[in-house]
Symmetry: C2
């Protein structure tokens, strides 16, 4: 039951010789979701052993080249791999026309269909869900329509305390009903509350991806209490004004968002090529939010499963 984020690219628009433009691979319950797809993403996926064929969902925050020019090569490679399933791409709506133009020239012999799902970048909406996961958009404030993404594990089904199955001689039907949240009525007519039988096997985990954006407190209620927050930090505070003009954030601002949202952990990235070393970013972020980390190519941030222990039995006595 994975929940992890692999950094594929940490640079802003100018790639450097060792930093790639934006891309991250989010793995939730063994399923991969690609967030942003800068030039070279397919090379990075291969480098870190990620199976390109298994990617069915690509999320693009905005239509700047450093967040999406890798999609052309990836679409082509998936075709060479013999893909037949639709490829779902969630992106600002213009991507549909962009890909249609592109495929006029490069779509010959395509064995599958890239399907663009247009994002509403002005309000938070559910854009995808399955049994385990819900993905919502996060409106961001950049120079062009942009949204981030919130990945949230769904609340898992209730577990039943094994020792009570025997004690109350529960039938299979009883167990199913209790797992679905029902109280249990004994033959005597006494009602045993559901909470006595059940507990959550683990706490739902969450990850928010916020890039590119100026510091925007509008997102705080949506990302509140997130386990892992990726927030862009294109500049440090020495270029505070430039960050604002270019629609970006500083490391300190990213950390302020993490603190105000009460995030558990912060990862910053999207570094300007003006900075040769990254220490300044980390020192600045940690001065505001101690659990801050640097995005670097190949780093994996895992959100561990927090197993919830059954409440002690004597609580109910």
């Amino acid at each position: 039951m994975t929940f992890s984020v692999t950094i594929l690219g940490s640079s802003s628009a100018f790639p450097t010789s060792n930093r790639f433009p934006s891309a991250q691979l989010v793995s939730v319950h063994e399923r991969p979701y690609l967030v942003d797809c800068g030039e070279g993403t397919q090379t990075q996926l291969r480098k870190y052993g990620i199976n390109i064929a298994k990617i069915n969902h690509i999320l693009i925050t905005h239509l700047h080249g450093d967040h999406m020019f890798g999609i052309y090569g990836l679409i082509s490679t998936m075709n060479m791999l013999g893909r037949t399933r639709d490829l779902n791409i969630y992106a600002p709506k213009e991507l549909d026309a962009i890909l249609a133009d592109h495929l006029k020239y490069f779509g010959e012999g395509m064995t599958y269909k890239p399907v663009v799902h247009a994002l509403n970048t002005t309000q938070s909406e559910t854009i995808y869900e399955n049994k385990h996961l819900i993905i919502k958009s996060l409106p961001l404030r950049h120079r062009v329509p942009t949204c981030g993404f919130l990945f949230k594990e769904k609340t898992p089904g209730l577990n039943i305390r094994k020792e009570l199955i025997e004690k109350y001689n529960l039938s299979l039907r009883d167990i199913v009903r209790i797992k679905n949240g029902a109280h249990h009525t004994l033959e005597s007519g006494e009602v045993i509350p559901n909470e006595k039988f059940t507990y959550l096997p683990y706490a739902p985990r969450s990850f928010a991806y916020c890039s590119d954006t100026i510091m925007s407190r509008y997102i705080i209620p949506i990302i509140s209490e997130v386990d892992l927050l990726y927030h862009e930090a294109t500049f440090c505070e020495d270029r505070h004004q430039l960050a604002l003009e270019r629609g970006h954030s500083t490391a300190m601002q990213a950390a302020q968002i993490a603190r105000e949202a009460n995030a558990r952990q912060l990862v910053i990235g999207h570094y300007s090529s003006r900075y040769k070393e990254l220490d300044q970013f980390l020192i600045e972020a940690q001065s505001v939010f101690s659990n801050s980390h640097l995005a670097e190519e190949g780093k994996v941030f895992e959100i561990p499963l927090q197993q919830e222990k059954p409440t002690p039995l004597n609580f109910y006595k």
Copy 2:
């Protein structure tokens, strides 16, 4: 007076974790020419310390993604660098419409113009020349219209033997005339032949780029005696039939072309990702043409200047 080729990418359509798709930087008399531009080319240019701003000419052999998907990012980066000069792109004619479509979405605020010069891929033509260099196209045989390129240094101006300037008391006007190829007439009426005064300072150098193509003997007369030949070798002979079906060559075929063209040196590349190691390519090529080498990212092949010595004076006595 450089004449060198830097390998930026050596893979075929599937990039591997350590090989990039096709791109090479040809430097002639300190001017850079980019040949092919697969995804990630701009990162490779930076990695090998090549100044992106100085590139004014990009040559694209054919419109398969692994030879041109890097052009979108490069065009964008050049714009961020504040470029104002036209960027000349030599490519099959459809690239003009492809870039026009692309720039509808990504061309806002462009400070310069990418100009596409349509290539005739069916016959060899001069596509560019300056004082020192001429570039010709080479028709190749692939699955789509494709041409390679021949870079040929122009024959340099004649040098004059310094010791004869004094001996014959030559005026500046005499020197200019002799350097332009004239004979010299003494006051006595005796004519001294130009060859006695002059010599070529160096032998013109040449490089041919042949990718992608099946083995095609049509190119041999055009690349005859070339100093450095790059010829694709997507497969080894174990996949001879597959090479033919896919419009590619084997290492042995590349070497046969080098031998029949009497090239001085061969570089092979465009390796299929089916081959994890490259030894087989090299052994196979060298079995036919001993001066064969592997293209690998970052390798630089220099064609040294062959200084021609003045013919000994007593030759004329």
